[in-house]
């Protein structure tokens, strides 16, 4: 297993280098720069700024300098937030996104698997139709529809929550639901399908023929294989949670990394864009690795080779 993880991490390095290079040149090819964004900059200040950020060097020198710093884990200064480094901005805003992501993930996983498993066990009954109708509706209500709708109903009409902000504990409720419900709907459908598939297997009949109580049949014999599709889905789900966080943090004005990234995109804050893309790429690659390891650990027929 250790070997598998090491190999995967080694494979990651060239991937990240390629991403860094591509992103760097793509960003530099773009018309406009962060300085010209500030409406009227006197020429001498502009020259000073360019010198400060190293824009007066050739592109190759800038590239090599950037990559050199990257090797030390230094993502450079932000062009927009003067005096802040990208590392500092990420360090400050990512924990907020992480907290939101964890709540949403827990909601998605618990609600999704519970609904899916119950629906599979009570196939073609009310306990199947009701949650699965909600799941279908959930899939058709993406975060940017669900979010404003929840705000409209629970914050504006009912007044239970603040429509935006990230100050009090109850400010977490609507954003976490907005982000989590969509994936819980997906997971509910996946786990129902997986459980139905497993429950029709011969070995479930064997387990029943042994006189095992239904609780053990489900929890010991069916769950493990039945929820494998959910585990496989986690990779895409993590990526989805990240792009979902852009939307949710924008809707609720949450000071997370997602909102900083979108603002950086608007402001052409090159280093911030580059840094965030690399950070997200690394994060997703690591999470995918965790998912792959989990898949092998849960499925004895797979091995790390």
């Amino acid at each position: 297993m250790l070997k598998f993880i090491c190999i995967r991490i080694l494979q990651t390095i060239p991937v990240l280098l390629i991403i860094a290079t591509l992103t760097f040149f793509m960003v530099r090819l773009a018309p406009g720069d962060p300085i010209s964004n500030e409406k009227t900059v006197p020429p001498e200040i502009r020259a000073n700024l360019e010198a400060f950020y190293g824009f007066d060097d050739s592109l190759w020198v800038q590239y090599l300098r950037y990559m050199g710093n990257l090797l030390h884990g230094d993502l450079g200064p932000s062009y927009k937030y003067v005096g802040w480094s990208v590392n500092e901005l990420i360090a400050q805003s990512f924990p907020v996104s992480l907290e939101l992501g964890i709540y949403a993930f827990i909601i998605a996983l618990l609600l999704g698997t519970a609904a899916g498993v119950v629906a599979a066990l009570k196939k073609n009954s009310l306990a199947d139709y009701v949650p699965m109708s909600f799941a279908m509706a959930g899939i058709c209500l993406p975060t940017f529809v669900m979010g404003p709708m929840l705000v409209l109903v629970f914050a504006m009409w009912l007044g239970w929550f603040n429509p935006l902000g990230w100050t009090y504990w109850y400010d977490r409720v609507l954003p976490a639901l907005t982000l989590g419900l969509y994936y819980s709907a997906y997971i509910a459908r996946l786990s129902r399908g997986g459980m139905l598939e497993i429950l029709s297997q011969d070995f479930i009949r064997t387990a029943r023929a042994k006189g095992l109580p239904e609780k053990i049949v489900v929890l010991r014999h069916a769950i493990k294989g039945g929820l494998l599709p959910v585990i496989s889905f986690m990779g895409p789900a993590f990526a989805g949670l990240i792009s979902g966080s852009f939307v949710v943090e924008t809707i609720f004005f949450i000071p997370g990394l997602g909102r900083f990234f979108i603002m950086a995109a608007f402001n052409r804050d090159y280093t911030m864009i580059l840094g965030t893309v690399l950070f997200y790429a690394t994060l997703i690659i690591i999470l995918n690795l965790v998912v792959d390891v989990l898949l092998v650990l849960l499925n004895p027929r797979m091995s790390f080779d």
């Binding site: 279908m136 058709c140 940017f144 599709p229 990526a239 990240i242 852009f246 990234f261 995109a265 790429a281």
Partner: protein, 305 residues
């Protein structure tokens, strides 16, 4: 073997053998159509989608208003007899903007799906057909790309190359081809070991001809199914981008943009949020049901996930 409980024909038998048989191709499609017709939700989905599409294409000719001419004196008004869905804060008729937005959203959905289809099918077919080391390398590349945060790349592309709608098609299509490539590759690598392909090879047909005449027609089922499911995924991505302000720009209109505008003003003009959210969700809903129905009809072996 004796009659096992699972042998009792609950569904029509899967046309596993027939699917591989070109001679009976027509009866396969007839079968599939028949099965689809029995799936009321899928037919409902098809109906809704055709209705919404026709409305978006022809509707703008029928409304007496322009989607971009503002009428500040008129201002935002709730639904009325003159403006069935009300007007926005610039006095524009929401129904007209909604129908125009439908053109853009559905157009993006189809064009980007076509792009992803082209790349994915070619890539997957070549990989699956060649097999061996080429296949391994090509699929490993897909695996690596899978792990990358693609929404972020689309955002990046939109930032760099301006918010150009044609580019949006290409950018989205270019990131949505991975699953298609995997599906096609899987089908092709199974198909090419089947007897009728071997027969074609032994007849000395050249590879291009074998791929075009024998393999592509046989993987058409899964491709249709997955395309139907790609359209809503693409529309979702476009809507997310427009919602974040990185996609379609005003005074153009798209459903994501209208939802964004509605969400910004929902505290005072809730009707601006509700109708775009409803029509967008209804369209996603219809396409998802249609896709599920098509999968059951065309590819009965695959489980629902």
């Amino acid at each position: 073997m004796s009659v096992m409980p699972t042998d009792i024909p609950e569904n029509d038998p899967a046309p596993e053998i027939r699917a591989a048989d070109l001679e009976e191709g027509t009866s396969l499609w007839k079968d599939a159509w028949h099965r689809l017709c029995q799936n009321h939700l899928a037919i409902l989905g098809l109906g809704i989608f055709v209705f919404v599409t026709l409305l978006s294409i022809f509707g703008p000719f029928l409304t007496p208003y322009s989607y971009e001419t503002t009428n500040l004196a008129y201002g935002p008004r709730p639904p009325s007899l003159e403006h069935w869905l009300g007007t926005d804060d610039l006095g524009r008729d929401l129904l007209t903007r909604l129908l125009h937005g439908g053109r853009v959203s559905i157009g993006v959905g189809f064009c980007a799906t076509a792009v992803s289809l082209l790349i994915g099918v070619l890539y997957g077919a070549v990989s699956g057909y060649l097999g061996g080391k080429t296949d391994a390398v090509m699929m490993r590349l897909v695996d690596i790309l899978y792990a990358l945060p693609f929404t972020i790349f689309v955002i990046l592309l939109m930032v760099i190359f301006g918010r150009n709608i044609i580019l949006l098609f290409v950018a989205i299509g270019a990131v949505e081809w991975l699953t298609m490539a995997r599906i096609v590759r899987g089908q092709v690598s199974v198909l090419k070991t089947r007897e009728f392909i071997e027969a074609a090879v032994s007849l000395g047909l050249n590879q291009r001809r074998i791929i075009l005449r024998h393999i592509i027609p046989n993987v058409l089922g899964p491709i249709i199914v997955y395309s139907t499911l790609t359209v809503p995924a693409v529309m979702l991505l476009e809507a997310v981008l427009s919602f974040l302000g990185l996609g379609v720009q005003p005074p153009m209109s798209s459903w994501g943009l209208l939802i964004k505008e509605g969400a910004e003003k929902m505290d005072v003009y809730p009707w601006l949020l509700i109708s775009p959210a409803l029509i967008f969700s209804a369209t996603l809903f219809s396409l998802n049901f249609l896709g599920d129905g098509l999968r059951d009809a065309l590819d009965p072996q695959s489980s629902t996930d």
